[in-house]
Structures are given as C-alpha cells and as structure tokens.
C-alpha cells in the first residue's frame, strides 16, 4: 500500500480491510502490555506458536499480540475469537488445551476463567468480569483488539478517519471550536481546557510552532500513559496530527522516558508506518498541511514531566523548570509557541472528532468531561488500569471495579494524583471523581495514579514515603522546594522514629504553606499535599506517634515491639529458625522468647507463626 492521498482512498482502504477480515476466523489474542510480559510471557507466546505449528493449524488460527487490557493483576491475559472467551493467568502448559478445547471445539477451559473473589462466580467473557463492568473504555478499549505494531489494525477500526474528516472538511478554527465545545481538559494533571490552550497557541505570534506529547510519566505506580503508547500508539499520533493542524504546527515531539522501551519501540514503529501511509510528512491527504514527529527519550527525571523543564530538556539542557508567567503557548520550545499535551489528552482527540463534541460532552460531570484512566494499585484485589467516566465515585472504583481490599482488611485511605496528591479517607469514598472535587478535598486528579491503602498502613509513614520521593526528584533550583521538602522529611522521619516533639505538626503546616505558595513549579507547589491531607484526615495518628510514641498501624519500627504470647506458643521452633538475627530463644515444645536487644523488628516471626502467638504492640 502506497501513500493514501484522499479521504476516499482512506475510506476505500478501510472497507477493504474490514471485508478482508473474516469475523469468524479463529484467533488468539494475547495481551502484550508490559504487565503481562512480566509473567513468563515469551514462553507462552512460543508455546502458542509451537502448538499451532505442531497441529498444522497455521492457516486456520491467527495469533495477535495486542495492547494492554488493563487487568494486569491477572496476566497474562488471553482472549479467544470468535468465542470471546476470557482466560487469565495463562501459562505455557495451558496452551494445548486452549487450542484443542476452545478454539477447535468451542468448549470453555473452566480453570482458566476469572472467578470473582467476592461473589465466587465465574466470568466467561471479558465484559462479565466485574473489573470491566463499570468501566467505560473509550480510549483504552481498542487496546485489546489491535496489534499496536500494525497500523492496518488501527485503520480497520476507523483509525485516521478523524484526521481525514479534519483535513478535508474542517478549518483549524472549527477543530479548535470542536475541542473547546467537547469540554476536554488536560489529562496530565493541571486540567487546563485543551481547546483553549490550542487557541492561545494558534493565536500566538510566530510562523514556527511545535506540538509536544508529554509521555514522561513518572508517578510511582502509575502507568496509563505507558500502556496507551504501548497499546494504541496511533490514537496518540492521530490526536497530535489533528492538534498540529489546528494550531498551525509543522513539527511535533514525543517526549517519552527511556525506561519505557516498549512504548518507545511502538511509537517509533507507529511514526514510520504513519509516514508510509502518508498521515505524516508533506502534504498530508493532499490538504497542503505538512507535519512530522520526532521521538525524544527522557533520562528519567520526574521533574522533566513539568512542561517547561521538559522543553529545556528537549533542547538538550538540564531539565529544570522556569517561571511560567510567559506561557509556553507563546514562548516554549526554542522560544517558539509550543502546545504540550499529555498522552491521554492526545488520545481523546480522534474520538471527539469522530463522534462529535456534543456526544463527548454528555459523558462526565459539569466541569469535567469524558473518561479518565486511573492506575488502580496498592491494597486492592484487582490491580490494573481502569477507564471510568468522570463523576464516578471513589467507592465504585475501589469496590465495584477494584473488588475491594484483599485479605478482609479494612480500607483506610486512597491517594490520588501521584506523589503530590492527597490521601482521601473512608468518609469521603462517595466523592465523585472529577478535577474540582478532588482539589476541594486537598488532593488532585494528577495524571491518574490511585493508590489504595488498608488499615495496616501508617499515614505518617505514607507522607514520609512520598516526601522522600519528592526530595529525590526535586530539581533543587528553588530554595522553598529543595530545603522545605528536606526539612519536612526530616521532621516526618523524626516522628516515625518516636522523636516527635510538641509543635511538630504546626511546624509541618507552616512549612507546607510556604513551600506550596513560594515554590517555582508545580512539583514544589503540590509537594505538601500528602503531608497536609494526612494531617487533616489522620491527625490522631500523628498525635499517637508524637505524644504516645505509638504507631497505631504498627508499621514504624522504632515504635513497635514483637513479643510471644506464652499461652499460644506451642514451641514449634519455626520462628526461632526463621529469625535472621537469632533473636528468639527457647526449647522445643516450650514457649519461646524474643530478645528485644537483638530484635530488628523485621516481622518475619510474626508472618511465620502458625498459631498467632507473635504479637505486635
């Protein structure tokens, strides 16, 4: 296939692709996201290939490695077609059975089905799994259907028709108007209205303009942008091309961190293929509009996700932010007007163009439209990526989609918005998730990290963890962020060591306020959030550490002691053997004892005891 030059050619090509594809053709799709690849995945793929070869089924059965399905907890995921049977935690040893039973005989291999941990029901198809039921996978849904390294898969599902529509029937102003009307807001954290950003960049003086895709995702536990670039890179690329047309940019960059090798590989392939088909390059679809995209691999500094730092880094200098009183839409990369959007924001664009602003703006809440992808991690049954309409409650995400807290433990808090987000307590679980609501309670949408914590989590320790991340990742340019975070971390560390003093909470609050108000960039301005929200909602835990020298969640090592209950101890010697410090003494069949001066409080005895005889206080 040569370059596609007209909308008609694109539509014809699409038709031919759809006609060529037999919906009843037997096909095995294996999730190829990084999560699934971590579970003996290559072995599984090789087993499928070998088995198909062995049984002489090469003509009859296709294998397709798709983008991430999101349910990473249960990987590797396999879906058979046309039956749509959803198998989870598939191993190479299951392969022969899947082929002979399901593909050839339409029978379900029961043991590979997902069983709901709460209701104990088996789900045969993907949409019957509770994890997927309440999701609205507009952006993420095609991930599981396409091979991200094959542009024709994307085109067959209607890909690039949005671009075709824009270039043949819409003026740049109309495109911007459409995005404004859709209500789309930046998914990278700030939530700035995307259409208005585009408008300002279009209006900015200058002939050379740039668009940038920010794929420098760095929040601990967050990986939705990674999965989108890995799983559906063309949706991001199409969004960028449409945006560039609307803004009047001729060049674009994808700034992606080098720790995402698969994302880098897939976006690279996508760019090459889009160039081959004429969606990138000179005179795209004969419209007179030309646009090219380059990839820039980031070195992994968290602060480079901040737009001005990212641009400086792209220019080849040390990534540190500058004051943004002159906006990047006026003077950004190489001092030219630059429009930067996050991966997920770009991926929303083709959808809005294809389905219309009216349709899009019906999803979500008054001020926050569309869906949002969250990475649901931590103490949760169903770890993975979830795409939900704005306005869904935290409770629905955590309990209905996430399946609640494992091990019958109690929910304590959910941290949204990445390291600079806030911890939201149980009393606020019915909060509808949108930009404003999350900010109101002291947290933020951020890029969509969602870390669930159970009753065994110490909130002071959590604040300490995030501050230590931010201390490492602060660029160090401005005093308030660099020195302020450092001192906050030292105070938190002292508190967790039982050296907290009267007045520490107030000092933390005072520091938080100044760091928030006087830091140069959003990293510093939001860094106090974990401290402020944990103080706001879990002040009693701080007080217990400071006044009573106790850690209520029994996490802070300096504040707990392990002892053995003589009544319960059977003298089995198990803990004694497991203890790495030889801190447990005793004879067989007689109660053991822990030598406190030797104990390092690692908790191994507690975990190894089968009689519940080890106590933590």
């Amino acid at each position: 296939m040569g370059k596609i030059k007209t909308l008609k050619q694109l539509e014809d090509f699409q038709d031919s692709l759809v006609k060529k594809r037999d919906p009843n053709k037997l096909c095995i799709t294996v999730c190829g996201g990084t999560g699934c690849r971590a579970y003996a995945w290559e072995e599984l793929i090789r087993a499928f290939e070998a088995e198909i070869e062995k049984q002489g089924l090469k003509e009859k059965i296709d294998i397709r490695i798709t983008g991430c399905h999101g349910f990473c907890e249960r990987g590797p995921l396999v879906v058979t077609h046309p039956q749509r049977i959803f198998y989870q935690q598939v191993r190479a040893s299951d392969v022969a059975e899947i082929i002979s039973e399901t593909l050839l005989n339409n029978k379900v291999v029961e043991r590979l089905l997902y069983i709901d941990p709460v209701k104990n029901e088996k789900a045969i198809h993907e949409d019957e799994v509770n994890f997927y039921r309440k999701q609205q996978r507009l952006i993420f849904g095609n991930n599981g259907k396409i091979d991200p390294t094959d542009i024709t898969d994307y085109i067959a599902l209607g890909g690039y028709t949005g671009l075709g529509k824009v270039l043949t029937s819409m003026s740049p102003e109309q495109v911007i108007e459409e995005i404004i009307r859709s209500g789309l807001r930046g998914r990278g954290g700030g939530g700035f209205p995307t259409g208005r950003k585009w408008l300002y960049c279009r209006q900015a003086k200058g002939d050379t303009k740039y668009v940038i895709c920010n794929a420098d995702e760095g929040d601990p536990g967050a990986y939705m942008d990674r999965s989108l670039l890995e799983g559906n890179p063309h949706s991001v690329l199409e969004g960028m091309i449409i945006g560039a047309y609307a803004i009047g940019a001729g060049e674009g960059y994808v700034y992606v961190r080098n720790e995402y090798p698969l994302a880098v590989k897939h976006i690279k392939i996508a760019i090459e293929q889009a160039e081959g088909y004429g969606f990138l390059g000179e005179n795209i679809l004969d419209s007179g509009f030309s646009f090219s995209v380059k990839i820039n691999r980031g070195g992994g500094a968290f602060v480079c996700g901040e737009s001005t730092a990212l641009m400086v880094s792209l220019e080849g200098r040390v990534g540190e932010p500058r004051a943004k009183h002159i906006h990047t839409v006026e003077s950004g990369l190489w001092e030219r007007p630059t429009n930067l959007n996050n991966v997920e924001t770009w991926a929303n664009v083709p959808l809005i163009i294809a389905k219309g602003a009216e349709w899009y703006s019906k999803i979500g809440t008054k001020e926050s439209k569309g869906t949002k992808i969250f990475s649901l991690v931590g103490k949760i049954n169903n770890t993975g990526l979830v795409e939900v309409p704005m306005g869904i409650t935290l409770r629905e995400i955590i309990y209905d989609i996430g399946g609640g807290i494992p091990g019958g433990k109690k929910f304590k808090a959910v941290q949204t918005g990445g390291p600079s987000g806030g911890c939201i307590p149980e009393s606020m679980l019915d909060l509808p998730v949108d930009f404003e609501e999350l900010t109101k309670v002291g947290s933020m949408m951020g890029s969509g990290g969602m870390i669930v914590m159970d009753e065994d989590t110490c909130m002071v320790d959590v604040a300490k963890y995030f501050l230590s991340f931010l201390q490492d990742e602060s660029c160090g340019k401005c005093t308030s962020c660099r020195e302020g975070i450092k001192q906050m971390l030292q105070i938190l560390t002292r508190i967790t060591q039982g050296k907290g003093k009267e007045g520490d909470i107030e000092l933390l609050e005072e520091l938080s306020e100044v760091v928030r108000d006087t830091s140069l960039c959003a990293l510093g301005q939001t860094a106090p959030n974990p401290v402020l929200t944990t103080i706001r909602y879990f002040r009693n835990e701080y007080e217990a550490h400071i006044k009573d020298k106790k850690c209520p969640a029994k996490v802070c090592r300096d504040l707990i002691t392990y002892t053995i209950d003589e009544e319960k101890c059977t003298g089995c010697m198990r803990c004694l053997k497991e203890c790495p410090q030889q801190a447990i003494v005793g004879e067989r069949k007689k109660p053991h004892r822990i030598l406190q001066e030797k104990c390092i409080k690692c908790g191994i005895c507690y975990e190894s005891c089968r009689f519940d005889a080890v106590k933590v206080e």
Partner: protein, 258 residues
C-alpha cells in the same frame, strides 16, 4: 507603558520590566540573592517573594521573574510576604549557618532562631556563577550537577573543563566567597572547578598576570584590535593607555594652538 500599583503607589513603567525592577524605580528595595542586573532573572532563591493581586486573586510570586502587568497590585511587605521570606531565610540559614550574607539577611527578616538541624554549606545555590559563565563570558564551563539537596554547581564530571578560561567572573559574582581564585607564580587555580591554568607573562614587565586561556579567548572573541594591550598586565596596560592618551592630548593641543 504599563500601569500598576506597588505598595499603594501608582506606577507607570515600560513593558517588559519585572516587578522587582519596577519597584526599584520608585525606590522600593526588595531583598534578593540570586538576582544580578547583568543576568537573566532566574527565580531560584525566592527571597524576592512578593504578593501579587490580579483580578482580586492574591498569590505569592518571585518579583524578579514576574513581568509587570496592567492593573496588578503588588505588595512587597505584607504579612504574608514577611512570613514567607522569613521562613525561606530560616531554611537557607539552616543550610548555610555560617555564611555572612545569609546571616545578615536572616537577621533583617526577623529570623531569631533556627528550628531545623544546621549545616555548614557555603554555597547557597543562587546560580550566579553558572549564569555569568554562560551569559556574560559565553564559556559555559560550569553547570549544575545532581538534583534536589545534592544539587551543586560544578565543572562536568568534576574534572577540569577545557571550556574554563580561568577568567574568574564566577568568583567575582559569588555572594558567599566560596569560589576562590589562587594565583601562584605561573599558575591560576580555581579549586572549586578543578581548574589549573598557565598564566601569561606581561610583555612589558615580565610579571605573570592573566591565564593565557583568558587572553586567547578574548582574542578569539574579537578583541584582536587591542591585541597588544591584552598581552600586558593590568599595571603596564594602564601605563600604556596613559601614554596613548597623552599622545592624543598633545595632538589636540597642537590643533588648538595653531
């Protein structure tokens, strides 16, 4: 021209000025550490924090990087500002407890005691050395390495940089005096950057003076016309210039007398 209010005074200044510069024009001094009028504003120390009220929305911002805007109100000494500056100075003092300019400024801001563990670092990370080297000298021999609290200005890989011409501009702008230049006979040493350079001999008196690298750099930068003067030590250069000026005067006298 842009009209704004600073501490209750109506001010009209040209566009493009920072709030810091505008305040200076009407005699309001805002404390600074990382600001230098010869360099691009950097916004690192946050000591020049002021309160900006725009469309009834108040926020704190560094005055050095905030461009004047029509209709804004600036408060350089409100309670909010004083509180923020005081804590910023306390934080800086905790880092650099023996650095005189920080001690002085902290005292001025009302810092009476430091509530944080104290360290004795000498560099306040204002970045003046790095910026003067890049923006004024044009050598870019030093830059910042590491992140966060580990941040420090240094030559790449902490070895002598070929780009360092030993001019000493960095030492001159350093407010804490932590960058030291040592001239010993035919050598100039700047330990902080691991720089050790040969010094040139004055063509007239034979004394060692500038590093040869500085002279070569200036020649390359277009100082070719005064090449002869560059090869003289500052004292001999002054003498040579006086000679030259005398000649001029003599000639001009000739003109007036005839």
């Amino acid at each position: 021209m842009v009209k704004l209010v600073i501490d209750g005074q109506q001010v009209e200044v040209e566009e493009g000025l920072s709030v810091l510069e505008a305040a200076k024009k009407i005699g309001i001094e805002i404390p600074t550490l990382c600001y230098h009028k010869a360099l691009t504003p950097y916004g690192a120390c946050r000591v020049c924090t002021v309160e900006i009220i725009r469309k009834e929305w108040s926020r704190l911002s560094a005055a050095c990087t905030y461009p004047v805007q029509q209709g804004i109100e600036v408060k350089t000494n409100s309670e909010k500002v004083r509180k923020a500056r005081k804590l910023i100075l306390e934080l800086l003092l905790a880092r650099c407890s023996t650095v005189k300019p920080i001690q002085d400024l902290a005292k001025k801001m009302g810092v009476e005691k430091i509530r944080f563990p104290q360290e004795d670092k000498k560099c306040i990370l204002c970045g003046l050395c790095v910026r003067v080297c890049e923006e004024v000298v044009g050598a870019s021999a030093i830059g910042f390495a590491n992140r966060g609290v580990e941040r420090k200005p240094t030559a790449p890989f902490e070895i002598q940089s070929d780009a360092c011409i030993g001019c000493g501009a960095c030492a001159m702008v350093c407010p804490t005096g932590v960058i030291k230049i040592e001239d010993i006979e035919d050598k100039r040493k700047i330990d902080r950057w691991h720089t050790e350079l040969e010094r040139a001999k004055c063509k007239m008196c034979g004394r060692y003076f500038f590093p040869q690298a500085t002279i070569d750099y200036l020649k390359k930068k277009g100082a070719e016309k005064v090449k002869n003067l560059l090869e003289l030590c500052p004292d001999c250069r002054r003498d040579a210039l006086i000679d030259k000026l005398n000649q001029v005067k003599y000639e001009s006298n000739l003109v007036t007398t005839t």
